[in-house]
């Protein structure tokens, strides 16, 4: 019996962690966005198959649409900036002290009417009518907002914008002119640098932007919650996309294209090609790709591509989309 025990002891001592067996590498071509989209805008071009330009997500505060008839103003909410309209139309006397509610961010659809600033000018007729609404630009800190500037957009035409800013802390007034540029969809302004920045590459040279943006999500209880998500926007300049959840990536061919309903909605690809499981106890957030989604994209050059996401993780770190694409 003692011998039996010794034998059993030997077996028990030999028990140990299981060794891995090698696996085969992924069979397709994998493209990786090499700058984390939590921190960078990456402008991707299908024709060259690479990212042609990047910039930091927080380089800008306000964005201005550059089309001749455009008046659309964007706010960089992922940087923590939000817009709240006031009832005042006089920026000189605007009162920062009243409790402000209704802080807004740009809806990701790209529709000018759905922006945080909204429609501040009526350009439907020959004469432009300005609402002269004074907006507050605030920064989200924890769960409250700190006003930074009062803003009043006072002019737009085919070449430029003008707006007035009033510093919350110093009450200094400044009038700023933004010049539209033909080569980009948007031009940007940075309050800290007090300068206009042309961050976007030529609008004819890219198709997709990998970036962080704000979206309204809903809790399990249906509570709307502004939430920073990481996803993909279309180049607003003639790029369109459709989603196919029926056919697999390999099955999609040229014949399919006519069956798709393409959309130029900026966030048609968006963020929900992935999902996440959060474990607060373990302090981890594990992202996974929603299977069965193939996006068909008509590029700025008019070519069609199919794209499927493979991963949101590179070298084990989240924020690096990896995907496979092929021209149809």
């Amino acid at each position: 019996m003692r011998i039996l025990l010794f034998l059993l002891g030997g077996v028990l001592l030999a028990s140990c962690f299981e060794e891995d067996v090698p696996v085969d590498p992924y069979p397709g071509d994998v493209t990786t966005i090499e700058n984390n989209i939590s921190e960078y805008y990456s402008y991707f071009d299908f024709e060259t198959g690479r990212v042609i330009h990047t910039h930091k997500f927080d380089d800008w505060d306000l964005g201005f649409a550059c089309g001749k008839n455009d008046w659309h103003v964007r706010v960089n909410s992922p940087k923590g900036l939000f817009i709240a309209p006031t009832e005042s139309q006089d920026i000189l006397t605007v009162d920062f002290s009243f409790p402000v509610t209704g802080w807004k961010f740009d809806k990701p659809s790209g529709n000018p009417d759905s922006s945080a600033v909204g429609k501040w000018v009526d350009n439907s007729g020959d004469l432009y009518n300005y609402s002269n609404t004074v907006y507050l630009l605030g920064e989200k800190t924890d769960v409250s907002y700190q006003p930074l500037f009062a803003l009043q957009f006072i002019f737009v035409d085919s070449t430029r914008y003008q707006f007035i800013s009033k510093d919350f802390f110093t009450s200094l007034i400044d009038t700023i002119t933004i010049l539209k540029t033909d080569s980009a969809n948007f031009t940007f302004y940075n309050f800290k640098l007090k300068s206009q920045l042309n961050l976007e590459p030529e609008k004819q040279k890219y198709d997709l932007i990998f970036q962080i943006y704000y979206e309204m999500l809903y809790t399990d209880d249906g509570i709307p919650t502004p939430y920073p998500v990481r996803g993909v926007f279309l180049n607003p300049n003639a790029v369109e996309a459709a989603l196919d959840t029926l056919d697999s990536f390999d099955e999609i061919r040229e014949d399919n294209i006519s069956t798709y309903q393409f959309s130029n909605k900026a966030d048609i690809i968006g963020y929900d090609w992935k999902d996440v499981t959060v474990d607060f106890d373990a302090g981890s957030a594990v992202y996974f790709i929603v299977q069965g989604r193939t996006y068909i994209i008509r590029s700025v050059e008019g070519n069609y591509y199919k794209l499927k996401f493979l991963s949101y993780t590179f070298n084990g770190i989240n924020g690096y989309p990896r995907f496979e694409f092929k021209q149809i």
């Binding site: 019996m1 003692r2 039996l4 025990l5 059993l8 002891g9 077996v11 028990l12 001592l13 028990s15 140990c16 962690f17 299981e18 891995d20 090698p22 696996v23 085969d24 590498p25 992924y26 994998v30 939590s38 992922p78 769960v143 409250s144 962080i212 999500l217 809903y218 809790t219 399990d220 209880d221 509570i223 919650t225 502004p226 939430y227 920073p228 992935k274 999902d275 996440v276 499981t277 959060v278 607060f280 106890d281 373990a282 302090g283 981890s284 957030a285 992202y287 996974f288 790709i289 299977q291 493979l310 991963s311 949101y312 993780t313 070298n315 084990g316 770190i317 989240n318 924020g319 990896r322």
Partner: protein, 767 residues
Amino acid sequence: MEVQKENSNLKKQNLNNCILTGFSLSIAKFFGKVVLLLMLSSFARAQTSTLSLKDAVTGKAVPFATVCFEDVLSGKQSCEISDEKGTVTSLAAGKYLLSVSCLGYQIHTDTLLLTPNLIINLEPSYFALDQVVVTGTIKPRMADNSIYKINVYNRNEIKNKAAGNLTELVSKEPNIQISRNGVLGSSMSINGLSGEHIKILINGVPVAGRQNGIIDLNHLNLNNVDHIETIEGPMSVIYGSNAMAGTINIITREFLAEKYVASVQANYESVGIYRLNGNAAFRKNNHSFSLNLARNFSSGFGLNDTSRYKIWKPTLQYDAGFNYAYQNNKSRLSIKTQYLNEELHDNDSLRSEFLYEEALDKYYYTHRLNSTAEYQVNFNKTLSLQVTGGHSFYQRKKITYLNDLVNLVKTRLNDPDEQDTTTIGLISQRSIVAFNPVKSIETQAGYDITYESGNGKRIQGEQNIGDYALFFTTILKPFNNLDIQPGLRLIHNSKYEAPVVYSLNTKWNIADFRFRFSYGKGFRTPTLKELYLEFVDGWAHNVFGNENLKAETAQNLNFNAGYAKTFTSSSVEFELGIFYNKMKNKIDFLYDANDPTWAQYFNIDFGNYINKGINAQIQYKFHPWLTLKIGTATLGNSKLDNLSTFTYSTNFSSSVLYTNAKYGFGVNLFYKYNDDYRIYNGETNVEGEIVEINESYIDGYHDMDFIINYSILHSTLNISSGIKNIFNNTLIYSSGSGAVHGGSGNSTPVGWGRTFFVQLSYNFRKY
């Protein structure tokens, strides 16, 4: 004379089982020895004699009992094991202090003159009232004599349940709920209050190292445990913070009776659990030394056998301990240290986002070192001193590897957020003076110093907290059958304005009935995590501790009534318990209603959180064959949205133990129904006021183990085998979470499925 009374009690009390452990033997011997010294002044040596042990009820021989003798004058000790006919021979006749112990019988202690053919009738043990306990008192005493309601799990219970760790030992108790997490381990809630409200002690010294407020019960191996004492209700007067819902005191083994002890135990479970442990001890005069080693390996369990991911993680533990004990007539010294080294692999599954070619594997390396030094001296019959020093060290390293499964190359992930080391150290020192000036008064007074420090990424660097307390209790005995014990604790805490903690315990014995009533105030300081947690996942998730947290306080009412009756060959025991617990400033994890990505710990300060319950247990024993036990516990917890309304759950447990002493085997069946229960999470506004309540629900489930024990070779070899988790529980349905991205599925792990096990234990003793 007080000692004589204790000795008298020792004889009178019924015993549930009487495997005489080193500890309880030493206590029994101590009492008996004092009696002997009072009664005898000389001894006579005569010829060789034979001692026969018989069952007092059936008259049958009692084999394999441990019989210890102590020569009155010389103090020379020796022990023998009775043979198959229940006899011990070749004894030099004389006057001895005698102590006889055997499984299923009361400890028999006596001082007698050995005659050539002496017969000793052993009384069967029926009730779990006779265990010697030390929690909350300087003077060891029978559980039934304690003013606290103390449950004892001894080595016999560990054997009957084939339990490898504390989780397995207590999981079938009706008022204990076990929560399991693959990485954080297992934790328990007692009477509805969870891990951070339970004080866990090893030899009276608090254990450090709570992850998420809990101490992993799987880290508390039983290979070196003599017995475990649990007390429900607050013990904050004696043990300070955390002792709100209950106190668990793990008493490790001492081998003061045997000259040599060697034991080895091997255990295999079909789910892939391999346990091997051994003990070795020897005694030289009044000094005893023991060493224990254990290796426990679990290969993990997942629903899909081929997946790398396991719900229950592969874990390898090494456990080693060393004990030294010295004992003489007046004093006792023990130095004990126990070290645990655990490696846990949280392997990732092959997932599409890693293109099925990489995996993020998290390895956790845990070190636990618990050391105690205790010195106790009895100056005279009325004055005793106990000085205890303790150190508890805990460190857990989390290392995340990016595992290239194509090339089988593992590299440490270059992301500081995925690497973490948490270190917690705790130093404690307490001294207690027990003073019994007259028979009707037993007083204990002492001080308690605890200093805990910790650092880690998620607790914002180095943090520490000190707790310095004076405490006082006294047992007043206005009548022989009535004990009244008021208690008081004055605390200075380095971070909190700690409340004055007080308690009142009473015990009243009437014939076969005994009643206990207690009122106690408890408190709990927030954990370092609750104070300093910082978990920021980019912009998406922000979870924080709260430095402004106030300490939780609670007031607890506890009533327990017991009835025990012995018949010719059977016994009945009935217990009824009722408790009511009102907690102020309960600490909870709350989401911001406007931004569920933001969560923080808050005090619930809009009312008192209440939990209350009733439990009942009945046990029937038919000597020596059968023990039947049925228990139930109903628990009511306040709903957060309306604290005056409650959600209830009722657990049910039962066990059947059949013992055949003649053939040395036993058949045991343990069953529990864990009722479904609900947990409430709140959401707050920016002022921390709860504006939304979310309900989590966990489904009920049945749990059953079937175990057979078989002893051979004069009980030196014990074989256990059976089936655990007969109902094959793995995941059970659960729901609820109000947070964005908060849910991690709709199931909760409760077990690794049905397993078959076999366990071999070989014990060698020489007295």
